[in-house]
Symmetry: C2
Subunit: 385 residues, 2 copies
C-alpha cells in the first residue's frame, strides 16, 4: 500500500507508480485526476464463471432450502441438465443479451476481466455457440473475457450408455478445432462421481494439452476424488472448488504451483463446506477467489461479496483476498504478466474503491463500493467525485 500515491498511465499501460512527491518531472504537466482518499487497486479479475447460460433455477433454491442436496436435484433431472436444455433452446442473440446484462453489473462492481466457461451445450453446436457468444461479447463491451472449453461438464443424456463416445467427441471432434480457431484459451473438466472419473479427465486434459490449450480442473467439490493431485500432475494453471481437498492434494498443489480457486458463493448457496483456504495458504498454495457465477449453485456475480465471505468463512485476510482477485487470479488464467498489478508495464485496468483501506472495504459490506473503473486507460465507469 502506497499512501499519497500517484500513478501514470497511457492508452494501454501503466507507466509509473509511486509516492506523488517522487513523480518524475516528465509527467508533471499531464492531465490528472484526484481520487481523494480512496483505494486504487488493479481491476478485479473473476477467474471462474459460467457466464453464458439459458434460464434460471430459482426453483432449486427453494428445494435446497427444504434440505434436498445438489446431487439429489441433479438426479431428478434438475441441476446442470436443466440449464443445458435451456441453453440449447436459446439463440446466440438471447444468450448474448443475458450475459451482457451480467457483464454490465460486473463492470459496475469494478471487474475488468472475466474467465467464462462453456459446458451448458454438451453437444457440438451448443458448445460452439457458447464460445462464439464469448467471442462476440469480447468485442462488444469493455470487460476482457477469457474463454474456457468445459465440454466435460457432464456426460449428456444422449451418451449415458456410451460415455466413451462422448469423450471421443470431446478429444477428437471438438478440442482440436476449438484450439485452432482460438475459441478457448483453456480446457476444464468436472472431476466428480456423477461427472468424469480421474482416468477420463486425464484422457481429456491430455488431448487438450496436446492441442495447445491450457488446463483447469473442477476438483474435489462434493467429494474427494483426487482432482487436486491430477491438476498438479498435469501442470494445470488452476484447480477449482477444492472444498474436499485433503493434505495430499494441498501438498501437490503447493509443489506444482497450481492456483487453488476458491468459490465461497457456491459453498454459501449449496450450504456446503468451504475450501480450506487458510490451510492452503499456510501450506504454500496460491489461492484465488472467484464467484462461480452460474444459474444453479452460485447465482450471483457479486465478487466483493465472495471476497467478504472468504474473510469471514475461510479466515483469509483482506490482503490475501485482494491478491486472490488480482495478482493470483491473473495467474489462474495465465495472464500474470499482463494484468492484476499496478506496476509499470501492466495493462491500465484500474478500479477505484470508496474506502481508505482494503480492510474497511471488505468489512463494511455495501451494495457497491466501486466508484470508478479504468479499462485499458479509458474510463469504463466514470469516477464519482
Amino acid at each position: 500500500m502506497i499512501d499519497q500515491a500517484a500513478l501514470v498511465y497511457d492508452n494501454t499501460q501503466i507507466r509509473w507508480v509511486g509516492n506523488e512527491q517522487e513523480l518524475p518531472a516528465q509527467y508533471g504537466n499531464e492531465d490528472s485526476v484526484d481520487c481523494g482518499q480512496r483505494l486504487v487497486i488493479p481491476g478485479l479479475i473473476d477467474c471462474h464463471t459460467h457466464l453464458c447460460f439459458g434460464g434460471w433455477r430459482g426453483d432449486e433454491f427453494e428445494m435446497r432450502l427444504q434440505g434436498r442436496s445438489y446431487q439429489d436435484i441433479a438426479a431428478a433431472g434438475g441441476g446442470i441438465r436443466s440449464t443445458v436444455a435451456a441453453t440449447r433452446a436459446n439463440t446466440a442473440a438471447q444468450l448474448i443479451e443475458k450475459a451482457a446484462d451480467a457483464l454490465r453489473g460486473m463492470l459496475e462492481l469494478g471487474i475488468t476481466t472475466v474467465e467464462c466457461k462453456s459446458g451448458y451445450g454438451l453437444e457440438r453446436a451448443t458448445e460452439l455457440k457458447q464460445l462464439e457468444v464469448y467471442k462476440q461479447l469480447n468485442e462488444q463491451q469493455p470487460i476482457d473475457l477469457v474463454p474456457t472449453f468445459l465440454g466435460a461438464h457432464l456426460v449428456p443424456d444422449e451418451y449415458q450408455r456410451n460415455r466413451e463416445d462422448y469423450i471421443h467427441l470431446l478429444c477428437k471432434g471438438l478440442i482440436p478445432g476449438i484450439s485452432r480457431k482460438k475459441l478457448a484459451k483453456f480446457c476444464d473438466v468436472f472431476v466428480e462421481e456423477d461427472a468424469f472419473s480421474i482416468t477420463e479427465a486425464r484422457q481429456i486434459l491430455t488431448a487438450a494439452k496436446e492441442a495447445g490449450l491450457g488446463l483447469k480442473v473442477h476438483a474435489d467439490q462434493l467429494s474427494n476424488s483426487g482432482g487436486a493431485q491430477l491438476a498438479a500432475e498435469l501442470g494445470a494453471v488452476s484447480a477449482e472448488h477444492l472444498e474436499y481437498a485433503d493434505q495430499q492434494g494441498i501438498r501437490a498443489l503447493a509443489r506444482s504451483g497450481t492456483v487453488a480457486v476458491s468459490l465461497p458463493l457456491a459453498s454459501l448457496y449449496l450450504r456446503e463446506r468451504y475450501m480450506p483456504a487458510r490451510e492452503m495458504l499456510d501450506g504454500g498454495v496460491k489461492v484465488a477467489v472467484a464467484t462461480d457465477f452460474n444459474p444453479g449453485s452460485a447465482p450471483s456475480y457479486h465478487l466483493p461479496l465472495a471476497m467478504t465471505l472468504a474473510c469471514l468463512n475461510q479466515q483469509m485476510t483482506p490482503q490475501e483476498v485482494l491478491m486472490g482477485t488480482t495478482t493470483v487470479a491473473a495467474g489462474a488464467i495465465a495472464a500474470e504478466r499482463q494484468i492484476g498489478s499496478l506496476l509499470p508495464g501492466f495493462r491500465a485496468d484500474i478500479t477505484i474503491i470508496d474506502s481508505d483501506s482494503v480492510n474497511h472495504w471488505l468489512y463494511h459490506f455495501r451494495a457497491n463500493a466501486c466508484c470508478g473503473v479504468l479499462k485499458s486507460g479509458q474510463w469504463a465507469k466514470a469516477l464519482k467525485q
Copy 2:
C-alpha cells in the same frame, strides 16, 4: 401475489389494489406509471439497527478472523466500549453526516422505515445526543426513523463498581424524560452475562413500561439467559437476536405474540450460530429479519443480503423473509396498522424490485435489485424504466 396488478395511491395512502381489469372506473383517468413485469412490494422495514455511531471497528474484523471472540475483544477494551468513546467524542453534526450517508444507501436498497437505537453514549449527554440526531434526521430525509432508547446496552466503565447507580440513572434520570419528550418510542435492554442480568433488565423495562415506552429485548445472543421468556413475560413487542433461544423461550414467544427479530448479518460477521428461525416459525413465532447495522458485529446495512442469508442459513422461505421485512417487521415496531402492507389505508411506502418473483429476487443476489421507491406517495428514488 397478484399478477397484472394495479395499485392506486394518493399523497399519503394506498387507496386501492387488485387486478388491473377490476380497477374501479373512478380511477381510470388518473396519471399512471407502468412498473413492467417487476415486483411491487411494501417499502422494506429494517426493524433493528444501531444507526448512529462514531468511528468504525475494522481492526476487530481482522482480530475475529484470527479467532478472537467478540467477548474477548470486548474484555480487552474493544467492542461496544470503543464505539462509546468515539460516539462521545463526535459532535451531533458529525454523527448526522455519517448516519445520513447510511440512510441514503438504505433508501437506494428500497428501505423506507428504520428502527434505530441509542446505546453508544451510556451517559446522559451522549444518549440524548444520539436521540436528538435521530429526531433531526427524521426531519431531513425521506426514511421514517423509529427511535429506541438503549441506555442499557452495557454498564459504562465509570459505573463498573456501582452498577446499581447506573440502573438508577436509567430508570429515574433518563427514561421518564425521554418518554415525555417523545425522543424514543421503545426501550431496549441487552440481556447478557457481560451486560445486564434478567433481574436488572426487568427493573429497567418495568420503569420504561410505566413511563409509557414500548419494550424490546436483546435476548439470548451469545448465551441463553432466559431473555426470550423475559420479553414474553413483560409483553415486549420484540425479542432480538435469540441465537441461543431454547424450546422454552420459543414457546414463550409463541404464546405472547412477541416478534422474534433475526439478525443473520451478526451471525455471519461474528461467525456465530444463527437464530433457529425455522423452529420458531414452525412453533408459531412471528419472525422478522433485520440488519443489526452497527460498527462491530454487523457493519452492513444491506437488508437484502440479510434476507438471502435468512433463506440460505435459516431455511426461511423467500415469502417468509419478505413478510419478515414488511408485515412482521412492522409488528416489531408496533406499526402494523400503518406500514408493511399494500392494502388500502396503509401508508404509500412502496418499493419496486427488478425481479418477477420474490424467489428470483432473493436467489439471484445482486448489488441492488431495487429500481424505484415511493415514500408516502412521493418518488424518493425515481423509477428506472
